[in-house]
Symmetry: C2
Subunit: 220 residues, 2 copies
DNA sequence: CGGTTAACCTACTGGTGAGTAGGTAAGAGT
DNA sequence: ACTCTTACCTACTCACCAGTAGGTTAACCG
């Protein structure tokens, strides 16, 4: 995924702090994703990063602070990737579709990031899960706004804020979960997984079993 | 959730092995769910169980074996709860509905079990995740069969096995995920959460934003 | 009431990993 | 060339925890 340092031999080359910090975070995400927070050791992270342990502490603080930094960085990267993917002045279903594509695209190309963000962060309690909850909250807000706007264009009065928000929560949850499932079934291409979720949540089984499917408008 | 032993004072009362084993598993589920596999210590589990550490090893073997026993027991309990809840000779949507109710009912009354099953087991690799994958596989099979049957009753030719199975996977994933979300929003009653998912996957947003909702047939 | 079994204990070992003390050298500024 | 800063290191300490050795007492059986 990220290029690994060759095996450490003696002293590492001197590099400016900002560069080292990035390398350390890359290494930490890699190790945390493979082993989980507790089983990951600072020794291993330092080794993968190509430096010695005291550097970790000098630059990123304690193990917990390092983990939190990983989560923050990856969460930000992901939200930016999604924001870059949506097409704001399209109809709601197309917006949802492009958001899903961007999301699954990111996860596919950054499996380690997703592993850390979703599985690790949420199974540690406390401030880590909170960091995640914050990101999820923003995502839910976006989807809820989409739904509200979508029901405004129809002239149906009934969709309230709470209704929209909880449906959005369910959809975001479904997305997280499907991405998680995808980690264990990596054969499928991102587009297929995204399309599957799109159909599920937009059409519903009730329509699908009758042969009604949703498909994207064919531009490009 | 489970009644805790009062504080250990000296020697514990002598009890038959089967009873102690159950107490130990109860304690282990509790501790694993709160702390996760790695952070949980055998000392703490033994303390919560009201016995001393060597008893754990005498009865349930190593830490890993103990964890695996927890997963197996809780997975079995859950599948049985769901099986007991479905009503086999109802139409597909009602079957799905009763399955969802049973599922969320179980999770609501056994949050610790769910925490161990879903979050902990899946974030440890290897044999633990495999144990889970097996259970999930069975659940997916059930739902897929339901969907296939459901599309047979309509005279639509197109739903193949693979299609049904991947949709089932998505639905099961959505259920897992919504249950997970629910852990952090315990205020909602089980029925509401179940109904939300039912509507999402059966009707889809496309219908919901137009005011079409699914509701259970009103028996009782 | 002895004797056997099985439930139960205290008290250790060995290993591992977080975090630190204290020192070395590479490059920048003068 | 000479110092100063800062990137970088080796080599520890200390705590915690999985797993065990070896001993104790309660119940049951004759």
């Amino acid at each position: 995924m990220h290029a690994d340092q060759p095996v450490r031999t003696g002293r590492a080359k001197r590099l400016p702090r900002a560069v080292r910090e990035r390398q350390i975070l890359d290494a930490a995400v890699d190790v945390f994703s493979r082993l989980g927070f507790h089983a990951a050791s600072m020794d291993e992270i330092s080794e993968v990063a190509g430096i010695s342990k005291p550097m970790l502490y000098a630059y990123l603080g304690s193990k917990e602070e390092l983990f939190a930094s990983c989560i923050r960085r990856e969460a930000t990267r992901m939200m930016e990737a999604i924001a870059a993917g949506v097409e704001p002045d399209q109809p709601p279903d197309v917006q949802l579709w492009s958001g899903l594509r961007a999301f699954f695209g990111f996860v596919g190309e950054n499996r380690a990031s997703w592993q850390v963000l979703h599985r690790q962060a949420s199974s540690q309690g406390g401030p880590f899960a909170a960091e995640l909850a914050d990101m999820r909250g923003r995502a839910i807000g976006l989807v809820a706004a989409l739904l509200l706007h979508s029901s405004e264009t129809q002239d149906v009065p009934r969709a309230g804020d709470a209704e929209a928000e909880s449906l959005a929560a369910a959809l975001v949850g479904a997305g997280e979960s499907l991405a998680d499932w995808w980690l264990d079934h990596p054969a499928e291409p991102a587009g297929v997984v995204a399309a599957r979720l799109m159909n599920l949540v937009w059409m519903g089984f009730g329509d699908l079993v009758q042969g009604h499917v949703w498909h994207p408008p064919n531009r490009r």
